[in-house]
Amino acid sequence: MERPAFTDMAFLEVENVRRSFGGLVALDRVSFTVCRGQIKGLIGPNGAGKTTLFNMVSGLLAPEVGQIRFKDRTITGLKPFQIARLGISRTFQNPSLFLRMTVLENVMVGRHLRSRASFLSSSLRLPGQVREEQHIRAEAWRHLEPLGLAALADRPAGSLAFGQRRMVELARALATEPELLLLDEPASGLNTREKADLNQVIRRIRASGVTLLLVEHDMALVMDLADDIVVLHNGTPIAHGPPATIQNDPNVIQVYLGGEPDGIPPAGELNLKWTRPR
């Protein structure tokens, strides 16, 4: 597959970030950039710090050291909702839906930051609010349909199967019309068919101009989708580059397959399927 070259300046820049919990260092000296329009993969064994990194980019955690910039603006220290408003949306490793709301309502919440109605205008149902509400509903439907969720629109989110929850969460994130979308293990818990669908969906998302940062354990999927991959191990990046390079990087192979030169036991959670399904 031919991969586009990204000469565009950095879209998201993570610079020398560090974070620890108690005495445990989760991330240290992590730097990388994501270019506009790219799909960036972020891989590494469990506990490598991937989710911590996501949480810092989306503002749920603050780095102790270092900076994160989005479109040349420093976003470290901003609250999650402020970061969301700048155009970064995310999904969670465990789908984090509003379980007592319907699927449609969940996606409508995604339209929150694209709408304005206040306590006052909502309770009085001012004409502007009524129109906006119709628009929110229409937009939510627009994001439900391409993911095949229209039939589930009125179901309570709490009644959905795991795979469906992932899709609803994706629809909710897309409804915010993000410029950068962070997907935290979108394929985990999905069956083969659902994974294939997901692959197509992610491609469509990228084609619509959204930049993606993808944490994923399914190597086949990452290698197939990503333009560029960062490998994290014990909180620091050990390799960075296009999939072909990563696959042949001796460090990476060692971490995933071999056990380390300095005797750290292998991160044995992965049975790497490095080959793409043909």
């Binding site: 995310r90 969670f92 007592r100 709301m101 609010q129």
Partner: protein
Amino acid sequence: MRFLQCNTPFATFAVLAVVTQLVLRAAGMEYCLTQLTMALYYALVVLGLCLVTGHAGQVSLGHAAFFAIGGYTSAFLTTHDFGPLPEPAWATGLKQARVLIEHSDLYGGTALSVSPWAAVVVALLLTFVVAHLIGYPALRLKGHYLAMATLGFGLIVSKIVVGTAQLGASDGITGVPEWPLGFGLTVSGRRTLRVENYYIACGLLLLTLVLLRNLIRSRVGRALQAIHDRETAANAMGINTAAYKLGAFVLSALLAALAGVFFTHYTGSISPSEAGALKSVRYLALAAAGGMASLWGVTAMSVILNYLSLRGFFGSYDNAVFGAILILIISLAPEGPLKPLGQWLRHGLNRNHHPRDETTGAPPGASDGAPRIH
């Protein structure tokens, strides 16, 4: 058709209100309207809790304090003698604008007090400020901690009320004047105005219900529900969770204060027991018993139980019966006894027509959604 369907509950409420009044008149029991009116005002407080606890998921054990702040501020300003005033321009100005009015005091002299309208405005403003001051730090807390912070706030207010001589200490404030609302309506406990005041309370409650219903089925309502369900995710979706929680809290505090103001002018007095922790507990418990998130369940429960309590139906065991009812309802039907009824109604109605694209899909008469408290 759509319009009718959305508004049937409100029409039902209005019809029920009128029928109740007519039946009581026919039965010669119009005196019951007095307690019913008071119960309707109490229901306003519980509805506020329905919003902040049932929908936004934030527990408050301090709402009696807001009721008391409303009631006491209004009572104090309308009964305290601020005269004789110095005569600079602003004082005369206040008199001319009828913010300050002269009335005869208990001993036949004249006293200069604040007019009811002005007092109500001040009461609501004060509540607005206090609710922000307490809500801002308290709403960062969760669960038991938030409950304790609001309870602590309520206790402080109630101790201050009991301990301040100007507020009548343990006697409270009596002789609160009636409140001419305009349009020929007056909030007053006079017997001749009993029916009128019953309808004022009904109207206020109905208005509140409509506004809250609109709010709940809107962008704001969804944001609050999202916060209740999963705060982190709500924040990541661009919802300023702190601001929305505070907004719901302040709104419910204002409702409680408004109830306090009307209640005080209606009964002509306010006593420290209105500020007590037991009252706060009662409000929260009524909301829980009504299904927490269901506007109609909460309204029905609080009007009925408060009415029975005010009529002295539970006798000297009032608190015990109240406590027992709460325990029973919460242990046997934690989502409120009206929930099963609502489901049954929903089921019956859905057979006839399918209100598909209604915001919550809730047909009339049913609760406004699943009870939502965690």
